[in-house]
Symmetry: none
Subunit: 191 residues, 4 copies
DNA sequence: TATGAATGAGCATTCATTCAT
DNA sequence: GATGAATGAATGCTCATTCAT
């Protein structure tokens, strides 16, 4: 089809602005919540508010873009892991990865929650990608006898969100985190 | 209605308003988050804003009161359960109770998070009561050999918050909820 | 007929309440300005807000009552002084008295300003009484050759208000205050 | 003079808005007191509230800016006068100028009061400038034998505030004003 | 295109005044 | 009469979004 409007080449500085905006917004939303004024995000990114709103027509759109990027990165990592290990290890490594990457505010829990039931189509896409990959990992691990066969994708997503919330509540204590993983992973074993 | 001759007429209205305000705020904060305008809460309770601010000098104070009441109710239920069963059953029944009672948005997770690290003294008290009772239940179940001995109170709180989040993410599906419980409870067993 | 509503005997406690309210309001308005909430004044007087508003139907009415009482007390003192001394001494003593009594916020300046041009009839009465007495003192002192004959009552009131403002600005320094008096009194002398 | 490096290049319309806001606020605060709602000031200046708060982050900041501007204008005029006349005339001309310029409500009295004891640094600066200039004028006039040598700067400030208050109380009557000046200036003479 | 000034609906909170107890 | 809980208009201030420069 040739050049699609959606793939129109962004001017170098515009692309850089967009990227900076996303980076800064991710950082800010993660550490200080979504209540931070857009103006502050723009300033931290070194641009004016107008530029922010040119790239993201709404604050919510910015938030969504942050989540999409996060979900995509998660999907990529998930795919990598799935490709490189045998099923059981892939599954559990991926579980840890998802959780450990969700450090900060209860941001990831929401992102995953959004992955479960969602309204926005952009997010739908990215979260569908994750769900597909997780499904593959799950059934792989189940076939390999490493995970209880009665669990479905919905329960896996819930457990991921839940484990993330547990970790967030626990804080930095590494031994404690390991014990949480231990409880969840033991619980995931076939009986 | 039903004027009781023995009730002091002075506080009757005020008490009812306070109670209504707390009920409405609990409902509203739980289902729609803490961003709801105070005016709307007041209207839903059938009082003017002034009345709301007479009873709770700050929006934050109202939120705190809601959480305290919830925590107190949780503490009471916990104590009842602990008194009536043998240790293992008491522990697991209480776990379920805490989760099932935390219906609604990510409210309970926050309440429990508040139980972990907190600033306000009123909340401190109520959450300390819960923690004490949970600690008793936990060590009882551990002595009875029903729960892994390496878990501490902090991990238990994290697991409660996490399981709550998982349930919230999962929605109403009863079989799915049971499977989540199953995973967590199996994981809690001594190996 | 019979008992006039305006002279109806106030019940003992009602009278005491009214008096306490006036005392407290005088104190509070003088030291902290008129922005203090009525509720606080009521509390300081040991009564409920309702009682305050029974005695003074409006906050402004309370303020007015405070000023009237103050003006009346000033008028009385002025009359005393006028009666007891020879004209020149009476005039200058009275000048000092008015100023020294007006310690605190720039309350008295306003009261005297109100004595000049005013809207409320109650105040009109009391301030007219002061003006009359001051006029007597002024012309007496002028006849005695102690004060410039070209000054009128209006200028005297202005000088009183101004000297009060100067004292307020100066603060407690007694030597400074004396120098201010010295300037004004020298200036009042016939040339 | 020329552009100050510290002054951010303000956009033309922004500068105009800021100026309008200051003008309107000066007018409004002077004639109707500081109780006037910010919204009304904004409307009178033909801008939205947001614009007002962009320029002056607080109502108090606006009030302060108004006073600073007034004080600066006073300081400038004072300097001009001091430069152009011999000491005695400079002193008395300046005294008149300060008073006559303080037309309006009890605004100038407050500004001078602020010059006496103050908390805000911006005001401190401008008022310090005035005080310095007044001090020079005062000692000059005293050396020239035109003013009592026992008066200090504090008393001068108090007399200025007081004379302003007297004029305000007196109203427009030109003969009366002249008599007030006469009283004060005679009183300032060395005995 | 980027900028940041302008906008104004919206929010938490206060306080004079009323009225049920 | 006295009380103080209830009322709600009003206020200072914020912030997502628009638009002139």
């Amino acid at each position: 089809m040739g050049d699609d409007a959606r793939t129109r080449p962004l001017r170098a500085d515009a692309a850089r602005n967009r990227a900076r905006l996303l980076d800064v917004a991710t950082e800010v939303f993660t550490t200080r919540g979504v209540g931070v004024p857009t103006e502050e995000i723009a300033r931290a990114a070194g641009v004016g508010v107008g530029t922010l709103f040119r790239h993201f027509p709404t604050k919510e759109a910015l938030l969504e873009a942050v989540m999409v990027r996060r979900l995509e990165s998660i999907a990529d990592r998930t795919a990598e892991l799935a490709a490189g290990s045998e099923p059981a290890a892939a599954f559990f490594d991926c579980f840890r990865l998802l959780i450990d990457q969700s450090a900060g505010k209860n941001d990831f829990a929401r992102a995953l929650a959004a992955a479960g039931v969602d309204v926005h189509s952009t997010l739908q896409e990215s979260s569908a990608a994750i769900r597909d990959r997780l499904d593959v990992l799950l059934t792989g691990a189940q076939r390999a006898g490493a995970v209880r066969p009665d669990l479905g994708l919905a329960e896996l997503l819930a457990l991921l969100a839940g484990t993330g919330a547990a970790m967030e509540q626990l804080g930095a204590d590494p031994d404690g985190r390991e014990r949480i993983y231990s409880v969840v992973f033991e619980g995931l074993r076939p009986r």
